[in-house]
């Protein structure tokens, strides 16, 4: 079961539609509410990052045998220092993003907290790929 989503980099108002759609899919599959919520939160934070930092991209979300796997890819600026980006409170978000309630530098730490595994592959000037795994 694989779902593919295009993530707009220009319209912040639709950010979260992929996460919203996939949450419905997971619920329909009868996956436990706790796991659905953990996946949803992590996926939503990653989706927001793809929109506001990555300038848009794409997402593949799938339910495998023992886990849910979600991959976000963008051709944005990349992350110079992943260790720093992972720290709570570190953010390069614009004031506009902050005014909308994001950009507190809690996204990546939240993703780490709610997933069983996360992997960031990134290259400055090329883009970022983030993989999230939540075990079933």
């Amino acid at each position: 079961m694989l779902k593919h989503y295009d993530i707009s980099g220009t319209d912040f108002s639709v950010a979260g539609e992929a996460s919203s759609n996939f949450k419905v899919v997971l619920k329909k599959l009868g996956i436990s509410p706790d796991i659905v919520r953990r996946v949803s939160i992590a996926m939503y934070e990653a989706e927001i990052n793809t929109v506001v930092h990555g300038g848009g991209g794409e997402c593949d979300a799938e339910v495998l045998d023992g886990c849910v796997k979600i991959v976000f890819k963008d051709d944005g600026p990349g992350i110079e220092n992943v260790e720093l980006a992972m720290q709570e409170g570190y953010s390069t978000a614009s004031d506009t993003v902050r005014e909308l309630g994001f950009g507190a530098g809690m996204g990546l730490p939240n993703i780490k907290k709610y997933t069983d595994d996360m992997k960031i592959e990134t290259q400055v000037g090329v883009g970022t790929k983030i993989t999230l795994i939540v075990n079933l």
Partner: protein, 122 residues
């Protein structure tokens, strides 16, 4: 605490239809007051109410991800119609109160509606 009682306590107006039945049967166990959506996302709990001064679509999305069933906008704020429609579509009840965030939270807390101190509820 019933959502209908919360509405009364905060002297709030309903934004998502006049379905009083929903307000009578929706039980709110915990609430949080916050303008930082990432902070909201860091706290997981069941059946809660979000009080906020933000009115953009991401507030609804955040509530949706968290299974938050109701949102109260403070300081008399009313979101644009498309935001209200999004909430209706997701089955999230919206109300708006004239009270500022601190006072709205205080009113509910005084009446016994608690929060959660720790994020470690998963």
């Amino acid at each position: 605490m019933k959502l209908s009682y919360i509405k009364t306590l905060l002297d709030a107006d309903i934004l998502t239809g006049e379905e009083n039945a929903v307000f009578e049967k929706t039980e709110i166990h915990t609430a949080c007051g916050c303008d930082l959506m990432s902070d909201v996302l860091a706290f997981v709990k069941d059946q809660s109410l979000l009080l906020t001064g933000l009115i953009n679509p991401q507030v609804i999305r955040t509530a949706e991800m968290m299974d938050i069933v109701a949102i109260c906008f403070v300081r008399g704020k009313v979101p644009p119609q498309e935001v209200i429609e999004l909430a209706k579509d997701r089955g999230i009840a919206l109300i708006t109160t004239k009270l500022p965030l601190y006072l709205a939270c205080g009113e509910l807390y005084k009446e016994g509606l608690g929060g959660k101190k720790s994020a470690e509820t998963l």
